[in-house]
């Protein structure tokens, strides 16, 4: 056998720098890159403008009073205490209603349902469609349901939670399904080959391994619900609440509704309050999204 050098000796030399392809300097890739940067820039600029604007307008009103006081006709004495508590109540109840239901539905679709059956495929398609339905439609649905079961005052915590649950259930189902699908089939096979039942495999292997994905998806879905006003307005959510919500049947308002209400007032002071309440809402959203990122990075499984 000839050595590598021998066999290369007679070969014509091929310079690696041909000078023919100054690819990055041609116009099309450059334009493409510029478009990408512009898109990013526009998104970031809008976000920063929004935050700066809110902070400038509402910063002076952002203080303890906002958290402790009830709405009032005088902006100097008004606060968002019931709205903050209302948001916490509604989102809390929504989480309790949706997360178990969403996970159960996703586990059924992913692990137990026969994927070749037309019925399951139809459900799959429709869950995806439901995730894209405008939120106000879910408000209508919740309204109709509450009327049907004979609830007279529909502006109650459980009613709002119901509307928001309908809204985010498809999102949680989709997120959970993706988390479950990310668990390698080898793990299921390994468990089943030991004589574990499908049920045991799901509970002890698949679900624990998909917790990070499920938690992330659920938190992001809840943060979407937190910012919603439309379906709650449809239920007749109160805009002037001077008491703390104290149960499932209690009347309530939430931060987005309070903001909506204050924005519509003529006095400048209320506009500032609306901006200040927006800061709270943004901080809550940031906190929840941060938590989702933390969970994802902290508990992500590597196979």
């Amino acid at each position: 056998m000839r050595s590598l050098q021998d066999s290369l000796a007679g070969a014509p030399t091929m310079p690696l720098s041909t000078g023919k392809r100054p690819r990055e300097q041609r116009p099309a890739p450059m334009i493409f890159l510029i478009v990408l940067w512009l898109s990013l820039l526009i998104a970031v600029v809008f976000l920063i403008t929004l935050i700066v604007n809110i902070v400038l307008e509402g910063g002076s009103r952002f203080g303890l009073q906002l958290f402790t006081e009830y709405p009032a006709s005088d902006p100097d004495r008004a606060g968002a205490r019931p709205a903050i508590l209302g948001s916490i109540w509604v989102i809390g109840v929504t989480a309790v209603l949706t997360i178990p239901l969403g996970i159960a539905a996703a586990v059924h679709l992913e692990e137990f349902a026969d994927k070749r059956h037309w019925f399951n495929r139809a459900i799959e398609l429709n869950v995806q469609n439901l995730a894209a339905v405008p939120s106000i439609v879910y408000g209508l649905l919740a309204l109709a349901f509450l009327t049907l079961v004979g609830v007279r005052d529909k502006n109650i915590v459980i009613g709002g939670a119901l509307a928001l649950s309908l809204l985010i259930l498809p999102v949680i189902i989709i997120a959970t399904r993706e988390a479950i699908r990310a668990v390698p089939s080898e793990i299921r096979d390994g468990s089943l080959a030991l004589g574990a039942t499908k049920w045991q495999t799901t509970w002890r292997q698949v679900l624990p391994a998909s917790v990070p994905g499920i938690a992330t998806g659920s938190i992001l879905a809840l943060s979407r619900a937190l910012g919603e006003a439309a379906p709650l307005l449809l239920l007749g959510a109160l805009v002037f609440v001077s008491f703390d919500p104290n149960g499932l049947l209690s009347g309530f308002t939430t931060l987005p509704i309070q903001i909506f209400n204050w924005t519509g007032r003529p006095q400048e002071g209320f506009h500032e309050l609306a901006a200040a309440a927006s800061i709270i809402l943004l901080m809550l959203l940031l906190l929840m999204n941060g938590l989702a990122i933390f969970i994802r990075n902290r508990y992500q499984k590597r196979w």
Binding site: G190, L194, K301
Partner: protein, 284 residues
């Protein structure tokens, strides 16, 4: 195109083969006229085989000859694939595992499986072993002892005894595969199926697994699918050669058993021309 290379000579393990007689004297499993289907597609047809107690049987053959499909039918792992179906009988301890009233979960506990890619659970080494006994509700006096025994039998105890609480994902590929073997024997099966267990391992890790198989043979019956003929020659008492038959009408490939015998006979004196062509490296 014909391969003009001489195939490397195949060396046989001298000790093991001397004990193996031409016919299976103590069969633990029998495959009677088995066809395996995926939907309408017939993957394997007309297989008749017997697996001897405390023997290692290798299933060899070119890709797509249905050997893995058959292996997965032996402990009903194929049930998990939508549309998979087995015709014929697979008799284990005198009972058809596809018979009415047979619990596939119990079949899988009695007939364990080790997969091509090591698949430890994302848990501690200890919990990987304890998982099987826990889920099957095995009566265990001391889980610690069972874990130690299983890891010892899988020749892994000395390497991991100080880090039982650490994640199994941190082990090397070869160690992970031995962990999977330890996990398989923790539920005390009679038979261990191995689906190309060394396919993703380096030669040294492969050698350790092969040595381990010889030790396990004392207590377990092993059925191994391998692409590597030398491996079959090194470890197996008996070898079954499969090939794919291509239908003239549809072009569909169906696996058939060509020849079955002691490993010595298959490699030194194949009766079928196709077996000879395959083991001498002329096709596949």
């Amino acid at each position: 195109m014909e391969n003009t290379h001489d195939s490397p000579p195949v060396h046989l393990h001298p000790v093991q083969t001397s004990q193996v007689t031409a016919t299976v004297t103590r069969p633990i499993m029998k495959v009677n006229d088995v066809d395996v289907y995926y939907g309408d597609f017939r993957a394997v047809t007309g297989v008749n085989l017997e697996f001897g107690l405390n023997e290692i049987t290798a299933l060899i053959g070119p890709s797509g000859c249905g050997k893995s499909t058959l292996l997965r039918s032996l402990n009903r792992m194929n049930d998990l694939i939508d549309g998979a179906r087995v015709d014929g009988e697979i008799v284990f301890h005198g009972e058809n595992i596809y018979g009415k009233g047979v619990d596939p979960i119990e079949v899988r506990r009695r007939i364990g499986m080790v997969f091509q890619k090591p698949n430890p659970f994302p848990k501690s080494i200890y919990d990987n072993i304890a998982y099987g006994p826990r889920v099957t509700g095995m009566k265990v006096d001391s889980m610690d002892d069972l874990v130690e025994e299983s890891l010892t039998r899988a020749a892994l105890w000395d390497e991991v005894k100080d880090k039982l609480k650490q994640s199994a994902i941190g082990l090397s590929g070869g160690q992970q595969q031995r962990l999977c073997i330890a996990r398989a024997i923790s539920v005390r099966p009679d038979v261990i199926l191995m689906d190309e267990p060394c396919a993703s391992l380096d030669p040294i890790a492969t050698m350790r697994i092969e040595d381990l198989m010889h030790e396990l043979r004392e207590q377990y019956t092993i059925i191994i699918v391998t692409h590597n003929m030398q491996q079959a020659a090194r470890v197996a008492d008996r070898t079954a050669f499969f090939t794919a038959q291509i239908s003239e009408g549809t072009g569909a490939r169906t696996g058939v058993l060509v020849e079955y015998g002691t490993t010595t006979q298959i490699f030194e004196d194949p009766k079928d021309q196709r077996t000879e062509d395959y083991i001498s490296g002329r096709f596949g």
